[in-house]
Point group: C2
Amino acid sequence: MPSPRRALFHPLLDHLRPGRHWLPLLNWLPGYHRHLFLADFGASLIVAALLIPQAIAYALLAGLPPQTGLYASTLPLLAYALFGSAMTQSVGPTALTSMMTASALAPIAARGEDPIAAALLLALLSGAMLIACGLLRLGRITQLLSHPVVSGFTSGTAILIALGQLGPLLQLPLSGNLVPALLGGLWRALPQVSAAALSFGLLALAAFALGSELLPGLLRRLGVPPRHAGWAGRLAPLPILAALAVYATYAPGNPTLVGPLPTAALVLEWPSFTPDEVATLWLPALLLGLVGFLQSITISQSLALARGETVSPDQELIALGAANIAAGVAGALPVSGGFARTAVNANAGARTPLSGVLAAGWVLLVAAWLSPLLQALPRAALAATIILASLKLIDLRLLLATWRYDKRDAAALLATLLVTLCFGALPGIGSGVLLSLALFIHRVSQPQVVVVGRLPGTEHFRNIERFPVQTWPGLLLLRVDESLYFGNAQAVQLRVAELLARHPDTRDAVLILSGVASIDFSAAEALAQLDHGLAKRGVTLYLAELKVPLRQALVGSGLLDPLLERTFLSAQHAVLGLAGWRGER
Amino acid sequence: MPSPRRALFHPLLDHLRPGRHWLPLLNWLPGYHRHLFLADFGASLIVAALLIPQAIAYALLAGLPPQTGLYASTLPLLAYALFGSAMTQSVGPTALTSMMTASALAPIAARGEDPIAAALLLALLSGAMLIACGLLRLGRITQLLSHPVVSGFTSGTAILIALGQLGPLLQLPLSGNLVPALLGGLWRALPQVSAAALSFGLLALAAFALGSELLPGLLRRLGVPPRHAGWAGRLAPLPILAALAVYATYAPGNPTLVGPLPTAALVLEWPSFTPDEVATLWLPALLLGLVGFLQSITISQSLALARGETVSPDQELIALGAANIAAGVAGALPVSGGFARTAVNANAGARTPLSGVLAAGWVLLVAAWLSPLLQALPRAALAATIILASLKLIDLRLLLATWRYDKRDAAALLATLLVTLCFGALPGIGSGVLLSLALFIHRVSQPQVVVVGRLPGTEHFRNIERFPVQTWPGLLLLRVDESLYFGNAQAVQLRVAELLARHPDTRDAVLILSGVASIDFSAAEALAQLDHGLAKRGVTLYLAELKVPLRQALVGSGLLDPLLERTFLSAQHAVLGLAGWRGER
């Protein structure tokens, strides 16, 4: 009988067993029961209420007609439910992918070609490449992104989105999607803003801000149970949108509406495309897919960790790929897991991906029967919802935290943020990756080598500069605090020479390798050189705490043969062996 | 009074005191005396005997007239002596830089422009950029190259040079400088080789091989002192060249000679160039300079280490830069420190860069008074010297050594070698750098986390799979063997979860951070997440052996506040604290 504790840890291990997850649906569907369904059903209502206005808003943000967003909220959710391993992921159009779609389609639209066909191709290509990455087990690729870089990129994109939505909010003709163009356009267009547009925009912003942010707190203070107050906050946007739609018909200046929607609730068709279009779009599609994947995996892993579940990155690549291929077939723009929406889905009690399937059903019903309502939505109101959602993604707290912890991490965050603002999403994330790798290489290229001594009465060895420790004349104990490789081998040599010069009476020097997990070929050669060089100066080099696998590799290679005979199991053994016989234990 | 040992270590510390070396000449010239001069004088004769034929041969290898090589062996040596910090470096034309010059000039020559003017500009640009790198203190940039990558690159280039010299050796018209073109050309041209050319080429190869490689051993066996036998081997090429030159005038098929040299022994002139030429040549110049620097610093550092001296990489950048600017002004091709020649200089007893200045004097004298002799040298004989020198650079021993030590290092070596052979020097070294960085990132992205226990009767903790150690029920001791950063934070989380699943009775888990020298922001967050996640499963996380600077940074940031209160000084303290109170010490 497995112990209950083993069962608890079970899910964390799942990703380590390839094969189990190939159709994660089979993990949860057989055990599905009424309680789970009720939870998923409730969550699906909340998510649909959020998803429908988002779908239209993000389609407009991508420069596409509203139905491409609605279609993106149907079939892709079904595909994700089949293949996805994250239980509460809410797939669909997101601000980030829509924004990247807009930049990918800009050259296509400039050539006068059909942006909708290109968007479908973008989704198809992106899906195919995500599936390929998943089959190649490249899910761990996101580890190349540090949290500060991801945060800088997210905040930068959020600022770009919020700035860009000032155009529809104030009914101004803004173009461009980078900070210089946006600010310039805003500066020129601002004098033309009409009082009517300004007041409608501010009204919409205030209504959503009050409804979503302040209403729950107010209700709680009035004695409403916190759970109900939370639901009220999540559902509040619906009546606010309806009220703004009604108000817009009477408002001065006739705010722009979403306008006509096609009568078909969903059209399935394999999109046609030329090799030329594939050549233009494959790279943006790959990057869009990876950024969408990064967004999905970040939120779903953090939720899974809190719930004791596990998300398989490779399986998520396949699931998001399937969702995007479904988007391409359903005439929709590219999709990914949404940050805020997934959190809402989890908070609303969703337990399985069936919640997403049900939400897709609601979207289909609304698109089929309530499309007149959707057509009457004022664009400025949708822009207000996007702006408020974007502002929540701007994470100043993290900037402060990284600044306090490590200025270099904060610099990586700021650089990613600024490059994203001025040059766009792809240069931003690219420079962030390069910068954080460079910082890491820089950090490990200057390893600490410290002189240690023994804490009196113990067998513990500590830095002589920080602890009152015992040392022995003629014996220098040096602790190396980093794996050795070509990039730091030379620095270690020089540092040892420097420390020996500070301790000129040294006859025996011991390198304590407790912090050395690997030694590459160049570093092994450098150790041999160091041994040779010190011997010429009358100093004998010893090793201590060399890890067993390293010792085995070194013995097999013959690289350090004379030095390996001078290896002690531990620093304590070295002291006993080297200072001990002098009667100085 | 400084102890004698301190004085011994002194030179190793020099590079750590910026400023001392800005004109290294001042370090050795004031103390210069007769004995040093005699040593330098002797070495200069040997080096000049090697340098003069090399100068002509490498100029021809670069596709330039012979005087560009002779000029490169005059003024640049003086400039290096002024600024260089390596005592036995022999600067001048080298096979590697001449080969890179040939590829840099190929497009210029194809456009019908003057290759000599372009070569001077190449040297000037390369010099200016090396000086800039030196002033920016970028000397440590070569640390990005692992020894296997450098070896693969050197061997690849040596093979290319040797193959290319089969053309002049056999008096065949070979073109191209990459393996596919060279082998194809050889295949087509080989039927045309004349018996006379073949026999002359083989004779030259045999003569140099016997003279340089076998003569010293033969002489030693005949009772000649090893020192003199070595000198004979080093000077042997001169009579052999002379004999081949005489023989060539009578040989059938009239072997091609070096031909006319200008009457001026040296011409100083600032080269003229256009912005267009600078735009074409700056990148090849930068790469040529850096590869030349790499070659120089590798040989001079390994010689300096053996002699207890130090070479400052930044100073070497400046000195090589000055030498290349001198080359540009003196009408010469780009220069660097030569591998073999520097070793010969050191072996011949050189003590200071004055040896180079004297060698430059010999070159000037020979060029002024003995140019008829130089003109009569057969090209095939020079090609034979280049081939023999190149073959010595091919390091199969290192390939075998890396293969035995670590297959990944061997793969990096082979990939660099193959890319160099098929696509040239620059793609070769570029792919080598990227590959070795990728290997390193891969290595540290999968850190070891092992379960440890205490060696009975000691305070030492070792891997439970390798040592017979003591463990305690409910207490899991985990040692993390790598610095933590964004790239491995997630892997550590998963690995800890896996190990906990294998030890389901765990109530207390201790992370022993003895191998963790740094924790970046993302990793600190991951630790906090891990603590949180384990707490939910009823497991309390503790830390041990957290290094003091890391603790300070973490305390300041507040990132790990609750966890930091559960930190033990050492694994032993953790056991005493967590297992001790249960009476299980």
